[in-house]
């Protein structure tokens, strides 16, 4: 059984439930995982589950790397761009200060990378000159 499938099943089961119903459901889910010896894989299941949830709710998690904290105006612009491009409603940021970028910003959305950093530009120039 793949963790992705388990997470999908848990998500679908929990969709309609609320309050005590939900907590009872989650309790029995954990029991099920224990019985099936899947508890050791819970971190993977949890991360898969959060991906499924984000997708359903139109949310994306974005990693922002920059040399200095990004200003609100710039962030707003990035948010608008990403919302349009990925057709989502919420953009959650994880900001990382990375001096190695030398300047600019690098945006990572899952597998997709939008590298607008100075380091990338210098590297591109380097390969071009080597040609």
């Amino acid at each position: 059984m793949r963790t992705k499938d388990v997470a999908q099943a848990i998500y679908e089961g929990a969709l309609e439930k609320k309050g005590t119903d939900l907590s009872a459901y989650l309790h029995s889910t954990v029991k099920f995982l224990y019985r099936k010896q899947l508890l050791s894989k819970s971190p993977q299941i949890l991360s898969d589950l959060s991906k499924i949830e984000d997708k359903a709710e139109g949310k994306i998690e974005v990693t922002l790397r920059s040399t200095a904290p990004i200003q609100t105006a710039a962030k707003k612009e990035i948010t608008e761009l990403l919302e349009k491009r990925y057709n989502v409603r919420h953009v959650a940021y994880r900001e990382i200060i990375d001096p190695e970028l030398l300047g600019g910003v690098r945006i990572e959305i899952g597998d997709d990378v939008l590298d607008l950093s100075l380091r990338n530009k210098i590297n591109q120039l380097k390969t071009f000159l080597n040609k």
């Binding site: 793949r2 491009r85 990572e108 899952g110 597998d111 997709d112 990378v113 939008l114 590298d115 390969t127």
Partner: protein
Amino acid sequence: MSNNIVENLKKEIENWNAELKIEKAGRVVEVFDGIAKVSGLSDIRSSEMVTFAGGQKGVALNLEEDAVGVIILGDFSHIKEGEEVNATGQILDVPVSEALLGRVVNPIGQAIDGKGAIKSDKTYPIERVASGVITRQAVDQPMYTGIKVIDAIIPVGRGQRELIIGDRQTGKTAIAVDAILNQKGQNMICVYVSIGQKDSKLRKIQTRLEQGGAMDYTIIVSAGASDSAALSYIAPYTGVAIAEYFMDKGKDVLIIYDDLSKHAVAYREISLLLRRPPGREAYPGDVFYLHSRLLERACRRSQKYGGGSITAFPIIETQAGDISAYIPTNVISITDGQIFLETDLFYKGIRPAVNVGSSVSRVGGTAQIKAMKKVAGTLKLDLAQYRELEAFAQFGSDLDEATKRQLERGKRSVELLKQSQYSPVKAEYQIVSIYALSKGYMDDVPVEKILDFERGLIDYTERNAKTFYKEITESKMWTDKGEEELKKAITDFKSTFNK
């Protein structure tokens, strides 16, 4: 007015939306033996090229649920776990241009002969679907190797795939190199693909080709013995991509794969490392397709579609003469015939050590010119009868005249087909010497003097049977007048030779 331009340009600049290029990136999870497991890269295609942070190239071969198996082309010792890998969106390709002629390149198209970078503005994908039925034409033009036994008995046509098969040290590469040397002035381009060969051997071949003036029309693609299996695996595809470039320009190309046994071994290594299930002799299930799709790209294209052809000489090395092993049987069934070389013949001094009985050419016959077909027909028969009688003759003392004559003729045929390395013979000379043999002019020449006789004969007839040679080169067949002249020249020469 000028103000307007400035204002408008300003607006344009303000409204300019630079297209942002979003790249697909993944991370190296595992790296070992020239293979990398990469996570991410969700939309990657099979055979897509990827680049590692250090600039190395790779090709995605295994697309799995949550990882991609990548073969690394080149040095993999600097690739680290966790390193970023970028998808390029391109199928692996190789730069092609006229500037490749005379050069030695590695399987990704970089020069390795120390003569500087090769300029090119075009690339060809290394994996391409072979020309279809509509664009093809039957093989009907000869491709002379300059080797008597091949051109006469196992003729090869332009666009044919002829396998050269034999044990180690039986002269497989020698035949290929002779064939390249013989293409001088024949309007051919040659591509020599060296797979897993020693660099010293390659260097020897390169020097030999340079001495023979053959590098002017030859390209060498080399994946050496110390290069990774990934490079050996793609080398023949690179070679044929380069060949296709020249074919698309209407040229005839000869490509030699030296050798496909090592190619299969390299592919087996990659497949096992990628954990694909092993089959017979531990080769993966698609090892037949590996060679069939490569050799299918050899073709003769019809004039309507630009003409041009690719003739392929794949080489297979057998172990102890076993042609029923997995890879040899595969490649035999794919190709249009095989030239079978034998150790026994080689040590008997019959060189090239071609076993005429087991060698065939399934399509070359139609490509042979009329004159050659006529003289070679009787030669083939003579040799077949000789082989049959040879066994008897070992016991026999009492043989009748006819049998004795057959044996003597057979001995001379075998002797005449001997040829030293790097000395290709022109087709018209071959016709003259085989003509003299089949008409019985050589029957009273001592066996050990046959090759001397041949040399003298060619020299003499070239001066004294000009009409015959002219007819052969112009109309591919002799007339009665030309034949009379040749007969007279041979008789004249014989009288001087015997003295």
